[in-house]
């Protein structure tokens, strides 16, 4: 069995927790996030013919007072950046976070989630804002916590990317060992 730690980061109030709430197994209350700064959930995904258990570290949102702690990111095999389509500023936070997470854990697979797609017409984030990110080969997925759209795809995309990495390192290790 394969276990992977993934982190979910984003600005304060982008709807991280509610986005995954219906799709993960959780035994801890939301209070943990405000007290300890992180809440841990679990999601099992099938990928590359294996069962992968994702241990999801739902980190407290970034604002003026709270910043993501590198210690919490340590050992993550992948991460989810959450952006609130209604607030352009959250996209900037996400871009900044992506840079900092890369510093902390290196280049690992990630997915950038544009949340609240159910009210897309009122979005502050415009396609033009996303073009440079797409050019940098960011995986961009539109989701809605309300309707659940895109959430399954989000986990699948991230897990597939991580497993590709996993098998790549495995095979090279195998080759060296052989």
């Amino acid at each position: 069995m394969i276990n992977k730690k993934i982190c979910m980061v984003g600005a304060f109030g982008v709807g991280k927790t509610s986005l995954v709430a219906r799709y993960v197994r959780s035994i801890f209350s939301d209070k943990y996030q405000t007290t300890v700064g992180v809440k841990i959930d679990k999601k099992v995904v099938q990928s590359c013919g294996a069962e992968v258990t994702l241990v999801l570290w739902d980190l407290a949102g970034e604002d003026a007072l709270t910043t993501v702690k590198p210690a919490q990111l340590k050992g993550a095999s992948g991460y989810i950046l959450v952006v609130d389509g209604l607030r352009r500023q959250t996209l900037e936070v996400a871009i900044d976070l992506q840079r900092r997470v890369t510093e902390a854990v290196g280049k690992v697979p990630f997915v950038c989630v544009l949340n609240k797609t159910d009210v897309r017409e009122t979005w502050e984030v415009k396609p033009a804002d996303l073009e440079p990110l797409a050019a940098q080969r960011w995986a961009l997925i539109e989701t809605s916590a309300k309707t659940g759209a895109g959430v399954g795809e989000l986990f699948q995309t991230l897990t597939d990317a991580m497993m590709q990495e996993h098998n790549a390192t495995d095979s090279t290790t195998g080759a060296v060992a052989g």
């Binding site: 069995m1 394969i2 992977k4 730690k5 035994i27 801890f28 992968v52 919490q72 050992g75 060296v176």
Partner: protein, 530 residues
């Protein structure tokens, strides 16, 4: 015209086959640039300087790339680094010392604090346990089974139980392996493991700053969470009750074992937990202790049995001591009341006895008295100083004996071949009679009965048959004379000795006269029966 091409053809053939310069030119035209490149490559390969420059441009990237792939480089460089450090220290120790200076204080402090805390805990426990019945029981068991005392304490500590053990990958917080008791309700251990790591981070970040301190104990009511940290993995034990400090040592050892057994799997961990299934027995080994309830019941049962046994032993001991003492007291009483024995001191120490006193030789044998009392005679040493008792019983006895001696000294003599008592002998018979009468009196007062043997003797001369009848006749004459004087026939017995008991054998002739005699022997009936 037709020859033209045919003439040109051979010439061109000739040019192709026979003109080296032409070939060289052709080759140059065809592979000239490649040739130059090959030569340039050759030059670069041969030139160390150039090769070094080339390598220097890519070496950093190459190392970074390889590090991402596997750990072969670390292994390969390990001896190099060790050697480099050694050389550096040998050349100038101050460089490394200065480099380590900022961290060495913290490391030493941490290590010393850890050691001191362990010491204090163990002193406390030792003081608590030193004199308890429980610890005595455990020490006996440790001696009996050959296990260490610590191990016995761990197995038997009555007030704790390890409910669950988590083996957690340190960096990711992912659960590597988990062991729990069968009766435990296990929350999702993956989540618990992650949250535990998160809480560790939280506590460390919030309260201890950047220092490398770790949460090692979390207490929550009757539950304790004991966390042991290693470089690559963390071992967390959920314990109910009050765990003994030996459990900490066990966790330390287990974690060290896991680090050594799974070194490769831990350093290359990418999320695959399968290799750690083999750590399950190690984790199971940490699920120690017993439920407080059952333990209490068991211990109460044990103590009841132990108490009964101890009380029985004490009672038996007391009984033996009391019985012994009463026998001893009775013996002393008996000795003190015994006529002819004066007990001057009786000492008792460590189960042996010492008696001193005075004893009349006629008194009862003290040895026999000791045997009769039930006291072991081997334990008694006695010293009796002889003395003469004036007790009435002994006075009569003594007089009886002196009369007996006097009587047995008496001898009546006869002429050759005669059984007639002469005049002088009749006077002696008076003495015999007087002694006999006295003896009868004393015998009456001491309660003894006796017979008087009247023994007739002859000298060795003559026929033995004749001698026998002559000796009998002599004894008979004396008996008759005594009966005439009023002595009861019943107490007299005639014994014909013939010449068997001469006064002195092979003596001179004049002495044989002395053999013609009658002698006396007092036979005390009580003595004869004994």
């Amino acid at each position: 015209m037709s020859t033209g091409p045919s003439a040109r053809e051979p010439s061109s053939d000739q040019g192709a086959n026979g003109d080296p310069a032409g070939y060289a030119r052709l080759r140059e035209l065809l592979v000239g640039p490649e040739q130059a490149r090959l030569e340039e490559l050759q030059r670069r390969l041969d030139d160390r300087q150039l090769r070094t420059e080339d390598l220097s441009q890519v070496i950093a990237e190459a190392i970074a790339l390889r590090l991402r792939r596997d750990h072969a480089l670390q292994l390969a460089l390990n001896p190099l680094v060790e050697d480099a450090v050694r050389i550096s220290v040998a050349r100038d120790p101050s460089i490394l010392a200065n480099t380590l200076f900022p961290i060495i204080g913290a490391a030493v402090r941490k290590s010393v604090a850890h050691a001191l805390r362990g010491l204090v805990e163990s002193i406390n426990q030792t003081l608590e346990r030193s004199f308890s019945l429980e610890s005595l029981k455990w020490r006996i068991e440790a001696l009996r089974t050959g296990k260490s005392f610590g191990a016995i304490v761990l197995t038997h500590s009555l007030r704790y139980r390890v409910e669950q053990v988590f083996l957690i990958h340190r960096e990711t917080g992912l659960l590597l392996q988990h062991a729990a008791r069968a009766d435990q309700i296990v929350q999702d251990s993956d989540l618990v493991s992650g949250m535990l790591t998160a809480i560790q981070d939280f506590v460390r970040d919030s309260f201890t700053g950047a220092g490398g301190q770790e949460v090692e104990t979390i207490e929550l009511g009757e539950f304790n969470l004991w966390v042991q940290h290693g470089p690559a993995a963390t071992l967390a034990a959920v314990v109910s009750g009050t765990p003994p400090p030996e459990l900490r040592t066990l966790l330390e050892r287990t974690l060290e074992q896991i680090h050594s057994d799974f070194a490769m799997a831990l350093s290359t961990f990418k999320g695959d937990t399968a290799p750690f299934a083999e750590a399950q027995p190690l984790l199971q080994g940490c699920l120690l202790g017993r439920g407080a309830q059952t333990a209490k019941r068991k211990s109460r049962g044990f103590f009841i049995v132990a108490a009964v046994v101890v009380i029985a032993l004490i009672a038996a001991g007391l009984f033996l001591v009391v019985r012994h003492q009463s026998r001893w007291d009775k013996l002393l009483l008996r000795l003190r009341s015994e006529p002819g024995i004066v007990l001057t001191s009786a000492e008792e120490s460590w189960g042996s006895y010492r008696l001193t006193g005075l004893r009349d030789p006629l008194s009862a044998d003290p040895e026999a008295l000791i045997r009769a009392s039930g006291v072991n005679p081997a334990r008694v040493t006695a010293h009796w100083e002889p003395y003469v008792s004036l007790h009435a019983k002994f006075r009569a006895e003594r007089q009886f004996r002196s009369e007996k001696d006097a009587l047995e000294q008496q001898v009546l003599r006869f002429p050759l071949n005669s059984a007639q008592l002469g005049g002088e002998q009749l006077i002696r018979l008076d003495d015999v009679e007087a002694h006999l009468v006295n003896l009868q009196e004393h015998a009456a007062s001491t309660g003894q009965k006796f017979l008087l043997e009247v023994r007739g003797h002859t000298d060795p001369s003559g026929n033995e048959d004749k001698n026998a009848s002559l000796s009998e006749a002599r004894a008979d004459a004396v008996v008759k004379a005594l009966i005439d004087r009023g002595i009861s026939r019943e107490m007299l017995r005639i014994v014909a000795m013939g010449s068997r008991e001469p006064v002195r054998r092979n003596a001179a002739a004049y002495l044989t006269d002395l053999n013609r005699r009658v002698s006396f022997r007092v036979v005390v009936e009580a003595e004869g029966a004994r």
